[in-house]
């Protein structure tokens, strides 16, 4: 494979890892966000915690692997992002995502030259709030699938609420992106096929209330997974080929080509991923299958 093809492949694979994390840990985080609001009794709180109990740890690994792969495939970006967003990173992941979208001041070696306040602007915060509401919806749907009776009925309201909240922030974010970040929409002119992702994401957003209305929570959960995957894909499309965008001089931006490791390393990592990921997917499937169905509290539960 050529260097360009390898760099693009790893850009896509990073997207896959980020999607895996957002999809899977998204519902863990969502259950956590809803935890103070929905469960009323101790039993309900235990059910809520045990719905994600066996799974959250494995789900976190997608983020860990995303970070490890970023370090390996795009060390320049890894170094710029994490040292540049030092404080923000220690505070909130969503804000870091928003910053990567809107761009940050970089010097000629790719080091961040702004201050912390530059990182807490309205756009990054909006993306942060949208992410929280999306995860709340995703987690609510997951919890709905894992519970029964009165507890489950109460979750219905929360699913509608979080969907509504997500809709509002999603539209605001879209408007803000189109209005203030011209670069984000450029790639859609370059790659007309990318409009499919936009339409698909909007359909997935619309399908969540449709499935809820028709009492098909499983499909609604899949749709909200589709929303997450779609948003990660849109994020990647808007970013490409940049990983960190420089606000002043665009030539200072950290791109997947100037941040990448050597072709040798990218190739070695591709072999590692090709050997390892089929195993990961297989046994993750087996483990999820083992814990299918409604939450049952047993001796080993929290």
């Amino acid at each position: 494979m050529s260097f360009e093809a390898l760099a693009i492949t790893w850009f896509v694979l990073e997207g896959v890892l980020l999607t895996g994390y957002a999809l899977l840990d998204g519902f863990d985080l969502g259950v956590g966000i809803l935890h103070p609001f929905v469960p009323r009794t101790d039993l309900e709180r235990r059910i809520s915690m045990n719905s994600i109990g066996p799974l959250w740890d494995g789900n976190e690994v997608w983020l860990v692997t995303f970070g490890g792969a970023l370090f390996a495939a795009f060390p320049e970006a890894y170094a710029s992002v994490f040292s540049g967003f030092y404080t923000a990173f220690m505070l909130l992941l969503g804000v870091a995502v928003g910053n990567a979208m809107i761009g940050v001041p970089l010097d000629e070696a790719g080091n961040f030259t702004g201050s912390v306040l530059d990182q807490l602007g309205p756009y990054p915060l909006l993306v942060g709030v949208m992410t929280v509401s999306l995860f709340a919806m995703h987690g609510g749907l997951f919890l709905y699938l894992k519970t029964e009776g009165d507890f489950q009925q109460r979750l219905r309201d929360w699913m509608w609420r979080s969907w509504g909240f997500f809709m509002v922030t999603f539209m605001l974010t879209t408007i803000a992106t189109v209005a203030f970040i011209p670069r984000a929409t450029e790639n859609f002119r370059r790659f007309p096929w990318a409009i499919v992702v936009v339409v698909g994401t909007i359909l997935a957003v619309a399908n969540v209330p449709r499935c809820l209305y028709r009492d098909k929570p499983g499909l609604a959960f899949l749709s909200s997974g589709g929303v997450i995957a779609g948003l990660v894909a849109l994020f990647g499309l808007a970013l490409y080929p940049n990983l960190v965008t420089a606000t002043g001089d665009p030539s200072r931006s950290v791109t997947i080509f100037n941040a990448a490791s050597s072709p040798k390393t990218l190739g070695i990592m591709l072999i590692i991923a090709a050997v390892g990921m089929p195993f990961v997917l297989t046994y993750s499937g087996v483990i999820y299958w083992t814990f299918r169905g409604k939450v049952k509290l047993g001796e080993q539960s929290y």
Partner: protein, 508 residues
């Protein structure tokens, strides 16, 4: 304080705290595999009760290990951006392999290990336990590979960073980075195998002493005695074998350190002047006087160990420019306390094994009392081993190669009889930190981590104490037929009423 020093402190604090948990996980993982294999072989329910108990403790350690480990992974980028740029191409692939081969494996199957007792059969459960244990061992492989490459780099070349085909300049100087040329040479760099064996043995010692500590406490309190005896026996066997193997491993490693990082070994031994070298049992190195004060030493002992000849000269710190020498005091003391503890483990475990053979171990209460707090010692030993390895590598974060003369008796030196390192091949820690992060930011996060880790440590001790007070569950007459469903809590209470192993019945 400057940003590099603060970043060093933050790294030391966060890894020092994190390191406790992988050690416990690797050590206890081996214990769990042994217990579940015992259950599969004999179907003796005491093995299952023991495995269930240690699983709960294992899960607690594992969770804290994961939470603190995520911090480690991102800290390379946050605090050591220049380092990350320099090593990313080499170090990154090991880290990515760790994620894909190790972390997914251990974290995924952990679900079945901890929560799957009533959902899968004993064979599948054993398989899951085996995978978790293997995963934890794999994760140590890749991180030790990455760290060993920093000590003894191999399988790479240092080349300019290209941006769109043009060398990237900073202040007019090309920015350099290490790129991989031979993956397996990188993985099996000269120190990987020695250091990996050393780390595993250290982890086994921690796991074994951890089990013995809790078991000894039960034996002294007369609770769960059958469970405690079997646990203690298993722990003692693992500890005694590991302690003896540790000496062989340590000796091999010292030879390797001398060949590849002679300044480090000289600092370990406070060996200032090239010539015949003593082996210190203890002492206080004095940099100003270039000597070890109040020391007790075996004359020529170091030469004897390295060359099998006490009179043969050993390269000392005088072969290195002052700015190329590691801090001698910290290196010397951490190394010596570690070796001292290793010697103590051999003595303690062999004495206990002798009493066990005589059949009087469980009546020797003072010795059991020694084992209760003794778990601290192998943890301290491991931490000091890490300190010695990392401080001894200074001032380098990536250590450049040294060259020996043809007959291997001395280093190739430059003017004034001192080694001239190829600066391009290595990276100094002072140059490795993030250029754009301020001391205030690091101080803020350091205080934050300090507080969070103190809280996390307190929670760990609190939950651990509750689990230990609660103890293992009653021995089941029908293995695998656990209480299930929403009636679980009621079933649990009923089961406790019929507990066979005694105890105070405090519920966890």
């Amino acid at each position: 304080m400057d940003v590099v020093l603060l970043s060093r402190i933050q790294f030391a604090v966060s890894i020092g705290f994190h390191y406790i948990f992988p050690l416990l996980t690797i050590g206890l993982g081996v214990v769990l595999v042994w217990l579940e294999a015992g259950f599969l072989r004999t179907r003796d329910p005491i093995y299952e009760a023991a495995a269930r108990f240690w699983t709960k403790v294992f899960a607690l350690n594992f969770a804290i290990g994961v939470a603190t480990g995520i911090v480690m992974e991102f800290q390379f980028g946050t605090n050591w951006a220049t380092y990350s740029r320099f090593v990313g191409d080499v170090f990154g692939s090991a880290l990515a392999a760790e994620g894909i081969f190790a972390f997914f494996l251990e974290s995924g199957f952990l679900a079945i290990l901890v929560f799957g007792w009533d959902r899968v059969g004993p064979k599948m459960h054993f398989f899951a336990t085996l995978m978790v244990s293997l995963g934890s061992i794999f994760s140590s492989v890749w991180i030790v590979v990455a760290n060993s490459w920093q000590q003894t780099p191999a399988g790479h070349h240092v080349v300019p960073v290209l941006r769109d085909g043009v060398p990237l300049l900073k202040d007019g100087v090309p920015v350099m980075r290490a790129e991989i040329t031979d993956f397996w040479a990188m993985v099996f760099n000269p120190s990987t195998v020695h250091r990996l064996v050393h780390v595993w043995l250290g982890a086994f010692l921690v796991g074994a002493f951890f089990v013995m500590s809790i078991a000894a406490w039960y034996l002294l309190k007369g609770r769960h005695t059958e469970f405690a005896r079997r646990s203690f026996d298993g722990g003692l066997a693992l500890a005694a074998v590991s302690a003896i193997a540790m000496f062989v491993s340590g000796h091999g490693q010292a030879g390797s350190v001398y060949r590849h990082q002679p300044a480090k070994l000289a600092a370990f031994e406070g060996h200032y002047r090239t010539g015949p070298a003593d082996l210190h049992l203890f002492g206080f190195p004095d940099d100003a006087a270039q000597t070890v004060r109040y020391g007790v030493a075996v004359p020529g002992g170091l030469g004897l160990l390295l060359h099998a000849d006490a009179s043969k000269p050993v390269v000392g710190l005088d072969r290195f420019r002052p700015e190329d020498r590691p801090p001698v005091g910290i290196s010397f003391q951490s190394y010596h306390v570690m070796v001292g503890l290793g010697t103590l483990f051999v003595g303690l475990t062999l004495f206990a094994a002798f009493l066990r053979w005589r059949g009087t171990l469980y009546q020797t209460r003072w010795l059991l009392w020694c084992f209760v707090p003794a778990v601290i010692l192998p943890i301290v030993g491991n931490e000091l081993g890490w300190v010695a390895a990392e401080v001894g590598r200074q001032p380098w974060i990536v250590h450049p190669k040294v060259t020996w003369t043809a007959d291997g008796s001395d280093l190739v030196v430059g003017p004034a009889g001192r080694v001239v390192y190829d600066e391009r091949e290595g990276l100094r820690t002072l140059d490795a930190a993030s250029p754009n992060v301020t001391a205030g930011q690091v101080l803020g996060s350091l205080v934050g981590f300090g507080l969070i880790y103190l809280a996390l440590g307190a929670v760990w001790v609190f939950i651990l104490d509750r689990k230990i007070r609660h103890g293992p569950d009653e021995i089941r007459k029908e293995p695998g037929a656990g209480p299930e469903g929403a009636l679980g809590t009621a079933g649990l209470r009923a089961a406790h009423a019929g507990r066979l192993t005694g105890g105070d019945g405090a519920q966890g």
